[in-house]
């Protein structure tokens, strides 16, 4: 019987069905949940903002006739070879290991098609990924799995990862079923171990050390390669200031909606701050240390649409990174995969994992029904890298068109000219977090305005 059969049944707000299930699972197994994706709870986000586009007092650009610049340059502070991207949308760091080689290949090719960058992950750089990606950002993570000097030199940018939005303060995980012979070899691990990554770097511990670490990477790359510092969004204002003080060219801030291949659910849902306040705090930090136009800001964590991107840029980001959304573009959570023009329904495979298309976050199992987050050859074959690259290219193009549509409507001939004044908030929480006025008022909570 459900509440539809009997309207008198009342679900507890404190113990809804999913919470009852979680408590009972912990009671029966002694385990907590480890899963993929990002926070599933609703938090204030970019949907809580709206653009106040051109009107009598503002002059819009023609949507399809007047150019709106999307070129984005990252790493102008110290690096002699900054990245010049065609669009301000980059692919976030996701490891080979967490993702299949086909998925990494497809993301790299799509990024190349639209003139943007993709990023390695915890586990090193694969030849396929380097070959497919015109611009490849190489992550320097606490584990240093597969971290090799020749890849440092082969990278177009280096991202020192302090933390990520899904698990700030925590290390990564890759469960044994995904630690294949190749993954294990790249990471110098025994195949099949439940691999855990360190939560802090092995050779530096604080911002003063980080300054020296960044300098080391610059020496190793002859001061040519941009150095990013990526933080999970927690104490964002101070973290961004410290990253800048340490010498970062680019700061990457990943909000709590940011995804992961495998982490404790308690981390995913209960740590960090949403992307919405994180971008504003990061932009304030950059402004307050006088680094606007010198240090670039990349924001990630739950970015899905051109509207999200436009709002992030308006609040101060120079670019965004997308992770989970890019996997969805490849086919994540689709009820079918497509091979040789034939759609094959895999709903039963989702059910076997105890989930369903549209709800799946079982990346940690390595049993991805559509072949994206797996190292099992027969599952990997379900993702056609050509088709996946085509889909991802389309998605990036559509995002860019949405972004420029909004920018033009705000009268901007460059997406980077979007500004907080173009936005209002639809909720009091969003007004306070983004520091833009509540729609229809001049009120910005917490500012005295």
């Amino acid at each position: 019987m459900t509440h539809q059969d009997n309207p008198a049944l009342r679900e507890s707000a404190t113990f809804p069905q999913d919470m009852i299930s979680m408590v009972q699972t912990m009671a029966s197994t002694g385990r907590y949940e480890i899963r993929g994706w990002g926070a599933k709870r609703k938090v204030p986000n970019f949907d809580d903002l709206s653009f106040i586009t051109a009107s009598v007092s503002r002059y819009p650009l023609e949507g399809y006739r007047e150019r709106c610049e999307t070129k984005t340059v990252l790493g102008t502070r110290f690096a002699s070879k900054p990245l010049e991207l065609d669009i301000p949308i980059t692919i976030a760091g996701m490891s080979f290991g967490s993702l299949s080689a086909h998925a990494k290949d497809a993301l790299g090719r799509a990024a190349t098609n639209v003139g943007t960058s993709t990023t390695t992950g915890d586990g090193g750089m694969t030849e396929e990924e380097r070959r497919a990606s015109k611009y490849l950002v190489y992550q320097c993570l606490p584990s240093r799995y597969g971290f090799r000097p020749e890849h440092v030199r082969a990278a177009d940018a280096i991202e020192v990862v302090v933390g990520q939005g899904a698990k700030p303060g925590g290390g990564g995980m890759l469960l044994g079923q995904k630690v294949s012979e190749r993954v294990a070899s790249m990471r110098t691990l025994p195949a099949g171990v439940d691999q855990r990554s360190a939560s802090r770097h092995p050779d530096w511990t604080g911002p003063d050390d980080l300054t020296i670490k960044i300098a080391e990477l610059r020496e190793a790359t002859n001061w040519e390669t941009p150095i990013y510092v990526k933080c999970g969004a927690t104490r964002t204002y101070n973290d961004v200031k410290l990253a800048i003080a340490a010498g970062a060219d680019v700061v990457v801030v990943d909000g709590m909606q940011g995804g992961t291949g495998a982490t404790q659910d308690v981390f995913i849902e209960h740590t960090g701050i949403p992307t919405l306040p994180a971008v504003r705090l990061a932009a304030e930090a950059i402004r307050d240390v006088g680094m606007v136009g010198k240090v670039q800001l990349i924001v990630s964590g739950g970015i899905r649409t051109g509207a999200d991107i436009a709002k992030a840029i308006a609040l101060g980001a120079d670019a965004v990174s997308i992770g989970v959304a890019s996997l969805i573009a490849l086919g994540c959570n689709s009820p079918f995969y497509e091979k040789d023009g034939v759609k094959v329904n895999v709903t039963a495979d989702y059910h076997a994992l105890g989930t369903a298309p549209g709800y799946c976050h079982e990346c940690q199992t390595g049993a991805c029904p559509v072949g994206i987050t797996t190292q099992t050859p027969e599952l990997m074959d379900r993702l056609d890298p050509d088709e996946a690259a085509r889909r991802m290219t389309n998605y990036l193009k559509a995002l860019t068109m949405e972004l420029t549509t909004l920018a033009r409507a705000c009268g901007k001939n460059d997406v980077h000219h979007l500004e907080p004044e173009d936005l209002v908030a639809l909720t009091i929480e969003a007004a306070a977090m983004a520091k833009v006025p509540l729609a229809g008022t001049t009120w910005i909570p917490g500012t005295g305005l």
Partner: protein
């Protein structure tokens, strides 16, 4: 055509670290360089791939010889943290002590320290070799995945915490073992490996047949809530 080898002296204080590193990078294989006026400089001789010999006359700051894949380095002094971090190949011989995280994440190569090393030596080792004549600080070989740590003296607390396939040999006493680390009996292969390392390092105070071997108990390789793991 074979490039002519060179023998040069570089004044670190006068040139600055970046110019010194560029000069080192430009040297043909077989060349040698002596670094003087060190004054604790960080990031000396990092990211080099040429087969050269570098003599460092003094104590350095962080990351001496980090990210290197080729040179042999002799240090007449005491390097700071992260000595030879992520080393791929080559030798670093320290006539002195070394600070924390010596040899961190090294994939290969040999680091020899004639004195003591501080905490977290050989952390996240990925195949390198670190030989220490004296004592080693706490949390050494933490999460070490592959490679060898030889300690001639005593080892600090939590030695070998969360070890994978790396092996630690201790000539002196072990203050305590870390999670999932255990002592094992020496095999003939172990003794042969230690003997070779003793010869290379010149640590004749170490008896290859009388050291404590520490390796992974492999109880944390796979998560198991019923074994009270803290995963």
């Amino acid at each position: 055509m074979t490039a002519t080898t060179e023998s040069i002296t570089l004044d670190v204080h006068e040139m600055g670290v970046t110019e010194v590193n560029r000069a080192l990078r430009a040297l043909p294989d077989g060349s040698s360089a002596t670094l003087t006026q060190i004054r604790g400089a960080h990031n000396l001789a990092v990211g080099l791939t040429n087969k050269i010999h570098i003599t460092v006359e003094g104590s350095t700051g962080y990351y001496l010889g980090g990210l290197c894949d080729g040179p042999d380095i002799t240090v007449n002094g005491s390097p700071g943290p992260g000595l030879g971090e992520n080393l791929m190949s080559g030798t670093i011989r320290v006539n002195g002590n070394s600070s924390s995280a010596a040899g961190a994440t090294a994939h290969g190569g040999l680091i020899i320290v004639s004195g003591d090393v501080s905490s977290r030596a050989a952390i996240s080792f990925k195949g390198g070799t670190l030989a220490v004549a004296g004592d080693c600080g706490h949390m050494s070989a933490f999460m070490a995945q592959a490679g060898t740590l030889l300690i001639g003296g005593n080892a600090g607390e939590s030695l070998g915490d969360s070890l994978y396939e790396a092996v630690v040999y201790v000539g002196g006493k072990v203050r305590s073992l870390g999670a999932d680390a255990r002592t094992e009996d020496l095999t003939e292969a172990d003794v042969a490996k230690i003997r070779d390392l003793v010869e290379k390092s010149g640590f004749d105070h170490i008896n290859p047949e009388n050291v404590t071997k520490v390796a992974s108990a492999k109880q944390l390789y796979n998560f198991d809530a019923l074994k009270n793991q803290r995963y």
